[in-house]
């Protein structure tokens, strides 16, 4: 993020993505709706503070996993609320169901100086920076081109399932890239969309976290 760009809030990002059929896990929630939310998603739950001011959530203790009952839920909600009090930017608290186990993937879209809109795919999680095994493609893509992009990924065999991880549905993943490509192509103000991680679970892809960087309107 630079001086000329801003992060969208969670709900802004979620709404924008939803317009293109890209569905994030969970939703932002206010205190009064916690019970309703818990009934909707079921325990154990996750709460996270999402701030356009601070993008390193984990380090700041803003991601709280494994909340098993209403008491823990309201307690953690209050903690996050207090923690983020007075922070600049747009802040919200997101309620999510606990993510399934599966392969952690990262999907990205950005506006490149040389190539215009570009899509990126790779392994998510902590090793991603060392492994640096990502694949790029110029956007937008049709389904065939998106599938071809997945096959060009050096570690594409991981998508077939590995050591207990479920196989990733390539069609679903390709469709996600098609939508992401269309989204960034049709919204010139967007500089970058980062979906990290996306978990390839037994029931399909689960989009856990998002960052959408937009150019400031002047």
């Amino acid at each position: 993020m630079t001086e000329n760009t801003t992060l969208l809030s969670w709900s802004e990002a979620q709404e924008l993505l939803a317009l293109y059929g890209v569905v994030m896990s969970g939703e932002t929630i206010v205190k009064a709706d916690l019970t309703k939310g818990a009934e909707k998603y079921g325990f154990p739950l996750v709460l996270k503070g999402y701030s356009t001011f601070n993008s390193h959530k984990k380090e700041q203790g803003l991601v709280r996993l494994g909340l098993n009952n209403a008491e823990e839920l309201t307690g953690v909600y209050a903690e996050l609320d207090a923690l983020m009090k007075g922070w600049p930017g747009q802040n919200g608290i997101v309620l999510q169901p606990t993510a399934p186990l599966g392969i952690e993937l990262v999907l990205g879209a950005r506006r490149d100086q040389t190539f215009g809109t570009v899509l990126m795919f790779g392994l998510g999680g902590t090793l991603v920076e060392v492994l640096n095994e990502v694949v790029f493609a110029m956007a937008p893509l049709d389904v065939q081109a998106a599938l071809a992009m997945l096959e060009r990924w050096p570690r594409h065999r991981l998508l077939d399932g590995y050591r207990g991880w479920p196989a990733v549905n390539r069609q679903e993943l390709a469709a996600l890239f098609v939508n992401l490509g269309n989204l960034i192509n049709e919204h010139v103000e967007i500089q970058e969309i980062d979906l990290n991680p996306v978990i390839g679970g037994p029931d399909g892809l689960v989009l856990i976290d998002v960052r959408v960087t937009v150019e400031n309107c002047t």
């Binding site: 490149d112 100086q113 040389t114 190539f115 215009g116 570009v118 990502v134 694949v135 790029f136 493609a137 110029m138 081109a145 071809a148 992009m149 060009r152």
Partner: protein, 461 residues
């Protein structure tokens, strides 16, 4: 086509800044054009002289008896900008700007370049450079560079961001017996971009294969889209340099271009099914295969290649070659019973070799006639779409060149030959084989990569 054809096929040329001083670019451009035997009119412009090399010298472009179609500017960046304004007024269609000192040199240079571009674009001038060695069209005997040379004519056209790398490409092609059609140093690409040259070469009937050296461009998308479109019709082979930070910096000061992420380039080339290489030598190896194959008997276009046949008289090179072929997805199919029978007929019953593909006929293949019969049997196999033939130059024995030319004439399948030996020793063989549409290599890996390139672009049309 933005007047590009005038650049490569001008009826007349004026050299502005022509000079009798051998250390000046204005001398060398003139020498290059004159000694290259350009057939059109040549005009010299320099107010200081009456005559250079026995040719009359004019005081200015406006003083020439005609408006020249192509103007080569061998003057500094400031005079270049003045002259382009004059060219615009006179109605000149094509200009080559040799001078550096433009956008690669900071803010003042950027302003000069902007002026240059605006004037050229408003007047519809096809402008090469600035900051360029120039261009060559062998078919028109046009050598409009300040590096005089003479080249073998051929069907490869080259677009190079760098004069030096472009020069290295030309000399390597010359050494390897690969003929040139057109060559252009694009320099700073003020007006004409890669895409413009690519689209021109796509339509150019004399260009069969296109080689590109690129450091970087800020119009990457335009470049890729043009290259991808052209590659459906003619093979395009790309050498992208500038992997690291230091290289990116060098590229910026060289032609003022963003090198961009190397990785991004590579992935996007792959996305668009464009063939890339990692060195000048590899680029020439691949241009050789793609331009030589099919230029002989009948000029066949390259068909789809699934199975490759490999014949050798020594086992190791076959392993080296097979590694490269298999990695690139070339299959070495089993030979049919009929093929094996033909091989056995050639080498006699109960041969001391294993009859399979790759076929190592060992000492039995020292005789060129037997080698030729076996190669023909292999090439005729229905599972074999292309043949790689490996042999070694020997002081006392003849190579199976005539035999392989016959194989090619009979089977009409792409044939790539590797003669292990010194370059000089097989120079004559190279000439004969290339004439017959058979690329010759001394390097085993280069031969295998040449075949891989044929597979890459084979069967696209």
């Amino acid at each position: 086509m933005k007047n590009i054809n005038v650049l490569f096929n001008p009826a007349s040329i004026a050299v502005v800044g022509a000079s009798p001083d051998v250390w000046r670019i204005g001398y060398n451009i003139l020498q290059s054009i004159v000694e290259g035997c350009f057939q059109g009119q040549i005009y010299l412009v320099n107010g200081k002289y009456k005559q250079i090399m026995g040719l009359p010298c004019y005081s200015g472009l406006a003083e020439l008896p005609v408006v020249p179609e192509l103007v080569v500017l061998a003057v500094n960046q400031y005079v270049t900008v003045e002259q382009i304004e004059l060219c615009a007024r006179l109605g000149v269609k094509g200009v080559i700007c040799s001078a550096g000192g433009f956008k690669e040199m900071g803010q003042e240079g950027q302003l000069l370049e902007k002026r240059l571009i605006t004037v050229a674009e408003d007047a519809g001038i096809a402008l090469v450079g600035p900051n360029t060695l120039g261009l060559i069209n062998t078919a028109a005997s046009l050598y409009a560079t300040f590096w005089p040379m003479s080249l073998n004519r051929g069907s490869v056209s080259v677009i190079s961001q760098s004069g030096g790398v472009g020069l290295s490409l030309l000399t390597t092609m010359q050494d390897e017996g690969v003929g040139v059609s057109k060559w252009c140093g694009v320099g700073n690409r003020g007006v004409l971009e890669y895409a413009d040259y690519l689209n021109y070469f796509a339509e150019d009937p004399e260009t069969k294969v296109i080689g590109i050296f690129i450091e970087g461009t800020d119009k990457g998308r335009e470049f890729i889209e043009a290259a991808a479109a052209v590659a459906c019709r003619k093979p395009v082979v790309i050498f992208k340099a500038g992997r690291g930070e230091a290289a990116a910096q060098a590229a910026r000061t060289h032609t003022g271009a963003l090198a961009g992420s190397y990785r991004l380039y590579q992935d996007i080339f792959a996305q668009h099914r464009l063939l890339t290489v990692d060195s000048i030598e590899e680029l020439v190896d691949i241009l050789k295969a793609l331009s030589v194959v099919g230029q002989g008997a009948g000029g066949d276009s390259i068909g789809a290649i699934k199975g490759v046949g490999l014949i050798t008289i020594t086992g190791g090179p076959a392993i080296v070659a097979t590694d490269i072929l298999e990695t690139a997805g070339c299959k070495l199919p089993n030979l049919t019973a009929a093929t094996l029978r033909r091989v056995e007929e050639a080498i006699g019953p109960n041969p001391p070799v294993i009859l399979r593909n790759p076929l190592d006929i060992s000492a039995l293949g020292f005789m060129a006639s037997i080698y030729g019969q076996c190669a023909l049997a292999l090439a005729a196999d229905p599972e074999v779409d292309a043949l790689l033939a490996i042999d070694c130059h020997h002081r006392s024995w003849s190579l199976p060149t005539s035999e392989l030319i016959k194989v090619q004439a009979e089977c009409r399948k792409p044939l790539v030959v590797c003669y292990i030996g010194e370059s000089q020793a097989v120079a004559k063989e190279r000439h004969r084989l290339h004439e017959a549409g058979i690329p010759l290599y001394h390097s085993i890996a280069a031969a295998a990569k040449g075949l891989v390139a044929l597979k890459f672009y084979g069967g696209r049309e």
